[in-house]
């Protein structure tokens, strides 16, 4: 970010707010980068010769005579194979003590893929976690967040999924990550011997929040390089997108925009969609899969951030502690993988879709029985059986510590059906009942 000799230096700032400063300047491009007393900033508004800059690290201590230099280009990342194994901050500067990466300069937040040049995702990602593989099967090129309260172990689950996903590159975009969690990721990847296929762009809680706004675009620019140019399978982890959205609202508030629901900017949907829609399967083989985290406040998915996210992503994985078994499970009601139907019953056993739905239906019956119990009513024999089924289903299939093959998951489900129900109560296609209904135990 060195200044060049011929660049004009401005020294008269006319207005300063918490996140922005304005000055008179000409010949400036929209979204151009600048430095304000060395701090990185970006043009967010130009009216006549009045230019407004968003200062990523905040404007604390910026004087009216600060030196402003325009860099003549939007934010960029240098891309090459040398990115692999490296750790960067939100601006794409190394934080691992290594050298600057040499390579082609690419604008971040670049154009979208033409929809007719995409390929329909079709490759199943096996994670071993039945709450995912059985009920919410993932596919390469998918975009899906974990919805979880801040005390859920989402970073652990995500790291596990990442390592089991067999990706050529794993790109971590950390936003408001605590230093401990950052080191956790580093450790897990290191222990798995995966460090050379990891690339990280990290904004920790110690960094200014507005800087986070650059992280997803940095991570996805690197992802596009490997997935499109190099035809690799790339997995992008974005954690925590709620903190990203919070940063958006900070900026829009400080720019006096009219907030819509939950003080979020009216453009939240488009802002998030631009990021998530970078997930893609290219016909030439490369792909970008995005797994994100959206933290909830006490499980509220109607808040504008999870709500808009759910409308954009291809499903969501809802983590919840099941007090019955004392473990975190992937909640089968609120979770969904919209791409699962592209692979289940096709790349997995034929009975997969029906078994999955039947189990969830019976689990729903158990929830009704529980309500009955809580309201002080007697349970019927069927109610008792659903509740027993639910406990075992939760323990042996929904819990996130399960690590088995999909066929074993299906067999386990049939075993539970046979143990607790009649064939009519399970009600799946007769051909599957004939094939898989367990012999009496």
């Amino acid at each position: 970010m060195e200044t060049k000799a011929f660049q004009k230096i401005y020294t008269r700032i006319t207005q300063i707010t918490k996140a922005t400063c304005s000055l008179k300047a000409t010949g400036i491009g929209y979204e151009e980068m600048a430095t304000v007393n060395g701090r990185l900033a970006q043009v967010v508004k130009i009216v006549g010769d009045n230019v407004t800059l968003q200062v990523f690290s905040g404007t604390e201590g910026i004087p009216t005579n600060a030196e402003v230099v325009f860099l003549g280009r939007p934010p960029v990342l240098r891309v090459s194979d040398d990115l692999a194994g490296r750790f960067f901050n939100a601006y794409g500067q190394p934080i691992d003590g290594g050298p600057e990466v040499e390579g082609e300069e690419r604008e971040i937040g670049g154009p979208s893929v033409n929809p007719v040049r995409r390929k329909q995702p079709s490759k199943l990602i096996a994670t071993g976690i039945a709450g995912i593989d059985l009920n919410n099967t993932l596919v390469t090129g998918q975009k899906i967040p974990f919805f979880a309260d801040p005390d859920q172990p989402y970073n652990q689950v995500m790291a596990q999924v990442a390592l089991r996903a067999k990706a050529d590159k794993i790109i971590l975009g950390g936003m408001g990550l605590t230093n401990d969690d950052y080191l956790y990721y580093k450790n897990v990847f290191d222990n798995a011997g995966a460090l050379d296929r990891i690339i990280s762009f990290v904004n920790t809680t110690e960094n200014p929040p507005v800087e986070r706004l650059l992280v997803p675009d940095m991570a996805l620019t690197a992802a596009e390089y490997f997935a499109f140019d190099k035809k690799e399978t790339v997995l992008v982890l974005l954690t925590d997108m709620t903190l990203y959205a919070d940063a958006l609202s900070i900026v829009s508030n400080r720019m006096d925009q009219i907030p819509s629901k939950d003080s979020m900017p009216g453009s939240l949907y488009s802002d998030l969609a631009k990021i998530y829609e970078k997930a893609v399967q290219f016909p030439e083989g490369g792909s970008i899969t995005i797994i994100a985290v959206t933290t909830l406040s006490s499980g509220d998915i109607t808040h504008a951030i999870p709500d808009n996210t759910g409308y954009i992503t291809e499903g969501q994985l809802f983590l919840r502690r099941d007090s019955d078994i004392g473990k975190v499970i992937v909640d089968p009601f609120r979770s969904l993988s919209r791409l699962k139907q592209l692979v289940i019953g096709k790349q997995t056993r034929k009975d997969h879709p029906q078994v999955m739905n039947a189990a969830v239906r019976l689990y729903a019956d158990a929830a009704n029985a529980r309500t009955k119990l809580e309201n002080g009513f007697d349970l019927t024999d069927y109610d008792e059986r659903t509740m027993n089924f639910a406990r075992e289903y939760s323990e042996s299939l929904l819990a996130i510590d399960v690590n088995i093959d999909t066929t074993v998951m299906l067999d386990t489900a049939w075993k539970l059906f046979g143990r607790y129900f009649t064939k009519a109560e399970v009600s799946v296609r007769q051909e599957f009942v004939d094939l898989y209904w367990p012999a009496d135990e």
């Binding site: 007719v116 995409r118 009600s427």
Partner: protein, 589 residues
């Protein structure tokens, strides 16, 4: 169409995709202009004028744009190009042909021709010399896929014309003159196969728009049987994310009995459009035996494509629909999701610092929505033939709460309400259309009632209303059971509840991904409703409420096996017989 000096301007302000332009001449609201950005031309639309400043929304990213860049105003509004060759294409919201674009990524400023003007077509004349014609009159016909694509008097032609000459049958380029028309003033006008029309203006080339009356079969039981849509009707599907809006719309696009389908993918996921691109060329249209893609046109403006073009995309789709309707065709127009278009309006209105209405949406949102829905309809054309546009949009209410401006405004405009319920989706009762809250106003139309009576059966309507009533009573019984406990209510309550569950599981629920269950022809729906009502009307004897649940589970299971079997196949008949046996066990009347 007089020649004016072209208005030009210079960029004087940039706030995201809102650009302020200082102009040197007249501009009109909604006029199209092009902004020069280092040699790339960015298309934009005027959305407000204040003195000599035009506020324009740019249909592209404005990154790198500078103050002072030149702008050219085009003297017309956003227009589509109409002519043969639209069918089966994939357009963006501004009608650029996506397949003609270079490279993998969408480069801004790259605009491609919607129609190949040099393509040759086999033309057959319809009009003859001396015919009196007006806008929309049929002059000739070319074969586009399997439809007879009418070449019409351009919609922009005002007043009456006389056909001076028409080309004889033969092969002509789309841009060749195929007819010459003379207006009342004696002036001649050449007509080719191609015309243009501004998308925001409704095409009015019809004589009359009567109340629709003809059922449009969709194969979706909860629609056809319970809440029917009609040719030329309107409907909307509100629902929280994941409740099945898109799956339902895709089912309609595959199965509905329409001549052609226009899908506007408005601000939603790219992969959902890819699904259509990928699957439709392979899937058969059961009615024509041709590939589904042959009758389908896609307008894709997905969520990552320019926000301002989202609004344009639904208008582009509607205008293409109106064009084909004027040829006497049955068009089904689907838009997913109209909320994204409303949000695009909101983003822009906020940027212009307009006084916001409820939830920061623009004040005139209800008017915008209702005039859009009003463009659908069943029409009598100038020549006495009929055509229709049936329009079904999805709505994505924030937080799934239907008390929000887009849902409320749409409810006033659309006649069918297919409300998707989170609870039904959670328990995998798909399609998750709420059987109690949803409605079709058309069921109250005497015109449709008569049609149903003649084409399905004279008792059909009564049966449908009976089924609805059983559902309602079942729900009430269920609530009572929940309040008073299983043994706190008479057995009859359990029966009522379980009878409604039979309707729910057998008629309402339908697996969109099962090859047999996905689509049910109306004859089969008629038979199924009959069988289910037989069960609902019967009396059964039970010794205790505990017996009710397992018994009806068996009934439902056999019914479901029937739904999974080919209609009247040997399996189907086998299950039907099994059902009779089960019913005989406990039926007393």
């Amino acid at each position: 169409m007089e020649e004016n000096k072209q208005t030009t301007g210079k960029v004087s302000g940039i706030i995201s995709n809102l650009v302020i332009v200082d102009v040197d001449g007249p501009v009109s609201q909604n006029e199209i202009c092009f902004i020069n950005l280092k040699g790339t031309r960015l298309m934009a639309e005027v959305i407000k004028v204040m003195g000599d400043k035009a506020y324009v929304q740019v249909f592209e990213s404005t990154r790198g744009l500078r103050i002072g860049e030149p702008v050219e105003f085009m003297g017309h509004m956003l227009e589509v190009t109409l002519g043969p060759g639209i069918l089966s294409r994939n357009f963006d919201g501004l009608q650029n042909d996506l397949d003609k674009m270079e490279g993998t990524f969408l480069n801004r400023g790259e605009y491609t021709a919607p129609i190949d003007v040099d393509r040759e077509w086999d033309f057959t004349p319809i009009a003859t010399e001396g015919d009196n014609v007006i806008a929309g009159s049929w002059i000739g016909e070319v074969k586009e896929n399997w439809i007879g694509h009418k070449i019409m008097v351009p919609f922009k032609f005002e007043g009456k014309y006389v056909v001076k000459s028409v080309k004889p049958a033969g092969t002509y380029k789309a841009s060749d003159t195929v007819a010459v028309l003379t207006n009342a003033g004696g002036r001649d006008f050449e007509v080719s196969m191609i015309q243009k029309w501004p998308v925001k203006v409704p095409v009015r080339a019809y004589t009359d728009k009567p109340r629709p009356f003809r059922l449009m079969e969709t194969g979706v039981r909860i629609i056809d049987t319970m809440n029917p849509i009609v040719e030329g009707g309107t409907g909307f599907i509100p629902g929280p994310f994941g409740s099945g809006k898109t799956v339902l719309q895709h089912a309609l696009s595959k199965q509905a009995e329409a001549d052609l389908i226009i899908v506007a993918a408005c601000g939603e996921r790219a992969n959902e459009v890819v699904e259509i691109f990928t699957e439709f060329p392979e899937l058969d249209d059961p009615r024509t035996g041709r590939k589904l893609m042959e009758r389908t046109t896609i307008i894709a403006n997905t969520s990552n494509m320019p926000v301002a073009a989202r609004e344009a995309s639904v208008y582009t789709a509607m205008t293409l629909g109106e064009y084909y309707r004027t040829m006497g065709l049955k068009v089904l127009l689907l838009a997913d999701s109209t909320s994204r278009w409303a949000q695009a309006l909101r983003e822009m209105s906020n940027r212009m610092e307009e006084l916001p209405g409820p939830d920061a949406f623009p004040m005139d949102l209800p008017a915008i929505i209702s005039s859009f829905y009003a463009r659908a309809g069943y029409v009598f054309l100038n020549n006495g033939q009929t055509g229709s546009i049936t329009f079904i949009g999805t709505v994505s209410p924030a937080g799934g709460n239907l008390k929000e401006p887009v849902t409320e405004s749409t409810k006033k405009a659309a006649r069918c309400f297919f409300a998707l319920s989170q609870q039904r989706a959670d328990s995998k009762r798909y399609p998750a259309v709420d059987p109690i809250d949803s409605y079709s106003k058309y069921l109250e139309y005497p015109e449709l009632q008569e049609f149903l009576s003649e084409n399905i059966s004279p008792q059909w309507l009564d049966k449908v209303l009976e089924a609805k009533n059983i559902l309602l009573r079942g729900k009430e019984a269920y609530e009572q059971i929940n309040i008073l406990g299983d043994d706190g209510v008479p057995i009859d309550y359990h029966l009522r509840y379980w009878k409604s569950e039979v309707i729910d599981f057998v008629i309402l629920q339908q697996d969109a991904f099962d090859k047999t269950d996905a689509s049910t022809p109306i004859v089969r729906q008629r038979e199924m409703l009959g069988r289910v009502l037989d069960v609902c009307r019967a009396d059964f004897s039970f010794d205790g409420f505990e017996e009710v649940n397992p018994y009806f589970k068996r009934v439902i299971n056999v019914f479901k096996q029937m739904n999974y079997s080919g209609f009247q196949s040997s399996d189907y008949e086998k299950y039907a017989a099994e059902l009779e046996e089960i019913l005989a066990e406990r039926r007393i009347a």
